[in-house]
């Protein structure tokens, strides 16, 4: 039987209250969002907080909206809400394509966007989506808020820029008219972590790629992105040859580890092939195919 160690539990009544509680209890406190990463870690004693601060009552952290030229997702938006959001689907197919292969429908009812970002698992699919779309996060503490680009958000596996006494409140993505996007994942079974995933958006204008973002997860891509591959594509025609060359650059920039999901060379191959497939479909979609 797996049960967490003894822990206290309190419900935050506002973001400000959650921050005050975090400051009061210091590093022994953890925020409880969907709980689908934290509770399993607590069962295994990989996490052992003294107090859980439940932020599920905070409606100010919910909702998906357009603000100016950005899509804004509250930290407590669930995976299920991302999957079914007409606003997100209107701007980027990548959200729906990625969410469909994140965990399973029941887990998606509880797991949250902010929780996934802060868990910062090196195989997190949403981190690849966030890096591909060049999104940012808003982090709040007792003195104010700051915005951090997702490509600078991760300090390492399971470590982010969110410090003690801070809470991630929003994830934001630039809206790009005429961008096509796509997500590709290989997993061993439904709902599993990826062996490798790749996502991309592409804007094709006047026959050439004018804007592109590539995200990869589970294959050791630094900050889940592939900037050299992106730079290569800018100004070039989205031909099969160019997309394949970019996908190879992306794969070359990865350093996957061999583990129970496969050997390193297999994962590197997947990084190339899945990036190519994502780029191909994103480019076609941008051109109205």
């Amino acid at each position: 039987m797996q049960t967490p160690a003894a822990v206290d539990y309190v419900r935050a009544t506002s973001v400000a209250n959650a921050i005050a509680l975090l400051n009061e209890h210091g590093e022994d406190a953890r925020l409880l969002a969907g709980g689908h990463s934290l509770l399993p870690m607590m069962k295994l004693r990989l996490a052992r907080p003294d107090i859980l601060i439940d932020i599920n009552d905070l409606d100010e952290l919910r909702g998906i909206r357009v603000e100016g030229d950005e899509l804004v997702l509250g930290a407590m938006v669930t995976h299920a809400e991302v999957l079914s959001s007409p606003i997100l689907a209107e701007h980027y197919a990548i959200f729906r394509e990625a969410e469909k292969v994140i965990a399973d429908p029941i887990v998606r009812n509880k797991g949250t966007v902010g929780g996934s970002m802060c868990q910062a698992d090196p195989s997190e699919d949403l981190s690849a989506v966030g890096a591909a779309l060049k999104g940012s996060v808003v982090i709040q503490n007792a003195t104010g808020t700051r915005t951090v680009p997702l490509r600078e958000f991760h300090e390492g596996p399971y470590e982010t820029k969110v410090a003690d006494g801070e809470i991630l409140t929003e994830v934001r993505f630039p809206i790009r008219p005429r961008a096509g996007s796509a997500y590709e994942k290989v997993e061993r079974r439904v709902g599993d972590w990826p062996v490798c995933s790749a996502g991309a958006y592409v804007v094709v204008s006047g026959g050439v790629v004018t804007d592109v973002g590539i995200g990869l997860t589970a294959v050791g891509a630094e900050h889940f992105c592939a900037p050299e591959a992106e730079a290569f594509l800018i100004g070039k025609a989205p031909s099969e040859e160019n997309l394949a060359a970019a996908a190879q650059l992306a794969a070359d920039s990865c350093s996957p580890n061999a583990d129970q999901r496969g050997p390193a060379d297999y994962k590197q191959h997947l990084a190339m092939e899945l990036t190519l497939r994502a780029l191909r479909r994103a480019a076609a979609s941008s051109q109205g195919a």
């Binding site: 049960t3 967490p4 003894a6 539990y9 709980g35 509770l39 399993p40 029941i106 709902g191």
Partner: protein, 159 residues
Amino acid sequence: MEITITINGEQVTRDVEPRTLLVHFIREDAGLRGTHWGCDTSNCGTCTIWVDEKPVKSCTMLAAQADGHSVTTVEGLEKGGVLDPIQQGFIECHGLQCGFCTAGMMLTGRALLDENPHPSDDEIREAISGQICRCTGYKNIVKAIQWAADNPATSEVTA
């Protein structure tokens, strides 16, 4: 800490440790053993119940999180001595052998039909993809949920 959870319409108030998992609260504190406790890692889905009408794996939620919320378990599907069509469907189509996954499967099936009264087989398979059955090969579970779709509660259902 004292918590109150409305389970199948009835308020259950107990003094629990904050670390108590919802699945254990349902089984041990509320005494409702229809909810099964399986892998403990949110993989197998046998502990699936509804919290505020949405399927949730109760091994990965604290009872404290459900304080003030409503929970539905398999015991809450039957109404006035009449089985829910989803339960009848599992009987009609032999949707189980050992029965370990069945409670969770029926709750997910009912939730799916409440949102989508006429799902395709693929949509059913997607809906139950977070739950594991080692007996049926899923075929009869899909049939059972389709049976319930074809025989909604307004039609004559024999208990």
